[in-house]
Symmetry: D2
Subunit: 342 residues, 4 copies
């Protein structure tokens, strides 16, 4: 049983089937194909808003390209200090923006607070030539701590950004998990809450390698196609990215997969949190669990072949996925219980 | 019948099957999986040389990342003036190298001549601070004109490069077609002929989206993993790139597919060249045909639904692929004949 | 006697005196000082147009910053193939634009012809994602061949640029020499002829190190102050750049110095061109002479301590300056005559 | 009386005289002149070590170019969170390194502590592809808080850096003030304490615009000349930078000027700190004073025409310089006293 990450999983059968089906016959390359057009339509429908959508293969590409569309080289991009863009992309945003600065903000539970953002922007030196210029805000949904921003929380942050003239990007590598948890509409969690660009993730949630960069304000997307090509992220056989997204969006598959992953996280968290000495570090709001476990439990589980990361001291990270089985979860809980008693 | 490019095709069945098979079960992410290791081994075996191999999804990524590993920001990269890196990647090499300069060299048939390269390098101003510094040579194999460099031709160019201290990169988006045509070993066409890094293409030749950057001198690859990650080209579910390459390399599939594409190009070229008024612009040595056709033939074929590009004046470009059928080719020839007579 | 370049000279006395005078007393830093404001006013008056002017210390900085204000990273900048930006700045424009591509155009006498520019732009692939996007045209005035564009020639090129939506930059490292030669107004040679941004040079013409980037359309300058700072080209003690420019512009000094340099070039060219076997490669329209000389003359002059560059085969380059003396010129001519006879 | 910064001052008479003297006669351009060679020799002598020295005009250029020589685009540069490179250069290091990440570390008095650096480096993820790679440490001497690192403190930080394989850069915009304060040798404060590259400042301390980037390990300087040229920071009339540095280094001028500035800071600080309600935020170890003053004193001084910055709440910043007069200092103290009483 592998709980190290949702990216250790393969692809959902529906998506694989769509991929195979998409392979037959010639079709225009570089995104001029009908499947890619259909993905755009589906995303516009899903978000109840005309969007400009661009498939890419990785989350880092989605984020870095989106931020490059928003921030000039002399720009500052405000993010949570623990965010993926700031810590786990080996400087991709800096590369794509040609050197913009990520400004990491603190915040409990992986979330930026409006007051923190406001205070930071107020002293950022907009217009002062010595300082990098406020250019964009990026939020991670769900966060790196496994929590989610509510629509109201997103809106409050967007309002601060807007009042300083900044666009808002959302890193939605686990956007599906957030929507599934909140039960809100994708629109409520994005453009209606002030989000201008979304990295809409699929890879972690059942695709092979597919994300869509979704612009709710097409005028922000003007440079995007050129930036994507120039970054080597325009697929010649685009149908193979689009087929994944098409199947992912079909009949609510994306939400079903995410809801399942969330449910498994809840189940696992509940089981582990009931152990003596266990302590959830953050509320489980998506498919990630950060929990302190007694050392014998952690060590024993790893010894028995369960795979997950030691995170920070006694805290471990466990990630469930679209295909995590309840049996596996229950077996792990049982083993943990046994270890806790011994 | 679509002869616009080899990238309008889907994927070979063997590769699709491998992709589906690779999906089952958890596996380490980011290239730590066994499939990725196997691809490296297969490439080392294929090239009869220990290699450092890095799967990526697009040819532009492969080329730009490889060149960034070779050239500093103040470097000059010598290429054919019509090469893909110079004209068709929207400046990807410039982005990845942080501003190195591509110096386009002329040359008949899409090929650089050693004398041209030598003369250019001799006056390039190596060591002179005012000029970008000679950093690398990149050759395209097969070329954008549908021709191929022989091992001896590659070696002659590499010798010039080497005598100026420059590494040699080969853009092998159609490397398979070149090897299939020449009947030489992959080793003879690369490291034995002085090539240091190869973009080993698969996408155009039956994969969905997969290339491997192959370093024959591992010390040149030191920065590569970081550059790939930073460019958003490190796949979390790397198995899906590696599965394609694994199947592509299995049992000589890559060469069979390319040999078929080449044979179809020969067949089509022979048929068209025999038409009155037709004139092959370049010898057909891979799977691309550049041929002058009488206007009524060109117009008539397009009208009948054949798809291909008008290239330059009366010259059209026709590209065959791994799945082009002899029937389609013969039908097109027959139609062209009919048009030529009318 | 040193005719290798106009940058082997020191500074004009008027400029040195202004520099010393500017040193006394405290003054606001980073360009908030009155001298810098006065330079802007003088430039606006000189060009008969409201301008946004930014002092910098070097011509490469002026050019690269100006082009970065005009061209995105995925842009193409059209220039003469022999232009300084393309060949003598070690890739500065590529660095400052974050990778835009300089497209070198051929042209006799160092000048681009409108037909060449038009033909290039027509096939440049504007809007096509595979190609770098036409972003700006840059002209060198006077050119690297020592010729000048007339206002009509500039206007014709600007019209082509404009018809493709491109702004026009002028590298005026020797702008003064061009104006002095043409006898036209600075306005006629710039904004009235369609130039949007000018690198207004002073260093070669009597300053220590000072140029001004002059925007005739302030809206193009929006990012400039940040780019200049970020490039380390915002001087804290800006007064020392501005003092140079202020003195340079005072009472027509800039034109007097350039007119003198031009006159000395004429005098030297006339003397040398009269030698048997001598042949001017280009008309002498600024302060540079490109002339074929018989080898014994060239060798003899160098032996006697005259300093100038062998350029290309029998062609040598001689550059006069603001402080070249007629005596030195005449002595060199006399020596050359003696050598030609022997 | 202007205490806003040391860069509101003009230039020292000795330096101006040297500049004027350097102007006469032709001399090779781009640093091939004898003055530039002499500066290198003087710096080698001053530091008791063979150095590779490169004059540039601004501190931002010196720092950004030095860091670009040390850090790859995927690198991390560790600095104090309040350091000039991190907060006051509009992202110059990011531009010159093509996107390396500055990692700001906390620390009292503007100083990084070895334990902080060590803890940061230990968890930095060296070798892990997801994270920017530790590349360099940069220290500011004197710091932005007006304090100085002792040789032992520098050595302790260098040792941590060295144990992680990282080179050490020192931003010495106020290096002279630090040396003057510490009374140590320049060697003890740099290479003997593990510093590899120094931005040796002169602009703030009596020059017009001149700094030298000093490499104590010439092998680290290999790319520097190209990077400087490419950044537009290679002066054609280099003699005018070198003349400033030459005079600055002559006969200990640099130390005399700095010692004077420091003495004036001490005098001013002593006078102000004695006021009721005044509180020095940091010890005064160079030429900057950060002190809390009662609001009536601050407001009253500003009203009377004294110029300085309100920094943070009741804290103001006062900077003395090479030409601050004791009379001005005493008058300000007297005025402050009067204000404090009223």
């Amino acid at each position: 049983m592998n709980f190290t990450s949702d990216n250790v999983t393969g692809a959902a059968p529906e998506i694989l089937e769509a991929l195979v089906a998409a392979s037959s016959g010639p079709t225009p390359s570089y995104g001029e194909d009908p499947l890619t057009a259909r993905v755009s339509e589906k995303l516009s429908a899903l978000f109840d808003h005309e969007v400009a959508a661009f498939p890419v293969a990785t989350g880092s590409a989605a984020n870095a390209l989106a931020l490059a569309a928003l921030a000039p080289p002399y720009g500052a991009v405000y993010c949570h200090e623990m965010s993926h863009v700031n810590t786990d992309e080996c400087g991709a945003p800096e590369m794509f923006t040609a050197g913009a600065k990520l400004v990491g903000l603190p915040g409990a539970g992986g979330k930026i607070e409006p007051a923190t953002l406001r205070a930071t922007l107020e002293k950022a030196g907009a217009g002062v030539v010595h300082h990098v210029q406020p250019a964009a805000v990026t939020l991670t949904q769900a966060t790196e701590s496994g929590t989610v921003y509510t629509p109201a929380e997103v809106a409050a942050l967007s309002e601060v950004a807007r009042s300083h003239g900044l666009p808002v990007h959302m890193d939605g590598a686990r956007f599906a998990n957030a929507v599934a948890r909140l039960g809100c509409s994708p629109a409520d969690l994005t453009w209606r809450a002030g989000v201008d660009v979304l990295s809409f993730g699929a890879t972690k949630n059942g695709a092979l390698a597919a994300e869509a960069v979704v612009f709710f304000k097409p005028e922000l997307a003007r440079s995007f196609a050129f930036r994507r090509k120039r970054a080597g992220h325009l697929f010649s056989k685009m149908r193979f990215l689009s087929a994944q997204l098409d199947a992912y969006l079909e009949g609510g598959l994306w939400l079903r997969l995410a809801a399942h992953a969330n449910a498994m996280a809840d189940r696992l968290a509940a089981g582990l949190a009931a152990l003596p000495g266990a302590d959830l570090r953050d509320p489980v709001e998506a498919n990630e669990i950060f929990i302190s476990l007694p050392e014998p439990v952690t060590a024993g589980l790893l010894e028995r072949g369960y795979r997950f990361y030691r995170w920070d001291g006694p805290v471990v990270r466990l990630v469930t996925a679209w295909n995590t089985s309840a049996e596996d979860v229950d077996r792990m809980i049982a083993d943990a219980r046994a270890l806790a008693k011994s």
